[in-house]
Symmetry: C2
Subunit: 135 residues, 2 copies
C-alpha cells in the first residue's frame, strides 16, 4: 500500500467509524500527541481529542444521527502531513471537508477535521486521470 | 521571531491581502510548488494556485467585496506543516477558517484555506494563557 493509499484508507476509516456511530473506533483514528482541532458544520472550533470525541458522541446520540458517505477525495502529502479534501453526503445535504492527518509510522492519524456546506456533489476529483481519485 | 510567530504572521498577511483586495500580494502567499486547495464558504473546493487566485479576484471585484478581520488564531506546527484555525469577521457574519501552511525556509506559505460558517465570535483561543493567542 502506498503512503497515499494509506492516507485515503485512514480518511475512509474516519467516515466508516462516523457512519457506524462508533466513538471507540473514532478515538483510535485521532492523534492524541498533537493539538487536534475539529470544526463541525456551523459550530465553533473544538480543541483536543477529548472535546472532539465528546462532540461526536453527542452527534451520534442525537435525534437524527447522520448517515454519512465520503465522496471524491483529493489528497496531498507534505513531509509527514497529509491533507484530504472530500465531500460528505448526509441525506440531501452535501458538505465539503478538510481532513489533516499526521504520519505515525505506517499509519495516518487525524489532527484536524473541518466540514462546512458545499455547493454540490462533484462527480470526480480535480483531475479525471488523477490516480488519487477515491470514487 | 519564533516559528510559531512567523506562522501567525503569515496567517495575518493573508487577511491583510484579503482586506486590501490585493491579488498580487495574495499570489505571493501561496505555495505554488504544492497542490493548493481552497474552499470558500458554501463553494466547492478549488485546486491549484491559478484557480484560487482567480476566485479571489472574482470576490474582490464583486458588488460587495468583503472587509475581513481575523480573530482568535490557534495554531499548531507539525514537521514543516503549520495549521491555523481562526475566525473571520465579515460585517455581521462570523466564519471559522482552517489555513494550512508549508514551511519554506523562514517563510510559511499557504497550501489550504477552508472557511465556513461559525456559531459566534469567541473572545479567546482554546486556552486563556495560550501565548499563541492572536487577539
Amino acid at each position: 500500500m502506498t503512503l497515499q493509499d494509506a492516507l485515503l484508507f485512514a480518511n475512509e476509516a474516519f467516515y466508516q467509524a462516523f457512519s457506524a456511530r462508533d466513538a471507540d473506533a473514532l478515538i483510535e483514528l485521532w492523534d492524541d500527541q498533537e493539538e487536534c482541532m475539529c470544526v463541525h458544520p456551523g459550530w465553533n472550533a473544538l480543541f483536543g481529542v477529548d472535546a472532539i470525541i465528546h462532540s461526536f458522541e453527542s452527534i451520534f446520540s442525537g435525534p437524527a444521527p447522520p448517515q454519512i458517505i465520503c465522496h471524491v477525495a483529493n489528497s496531498t502529502i507534505m513531509d509527514g502531513s497529509g491533507i484530504v479534501v472530500c465531500y460528505e453526503e448526509i441525506g440531501a445535504q452535501v458538505l465539503v471537508a478538510t481532513n489533516v492527518f499526521k504520519q505515525r509510522g505506517s499509519k495516518w492519524l487525524l489532527v484536524l477535521h473541518h466540514a462546512g456546506p458545499a455547493q454540490f456533489l462533484p462527480k470526480q476529483t480535480a483531475s479525471e486521470d488523477d490516480p488519487r481519485r477515491a470514487n
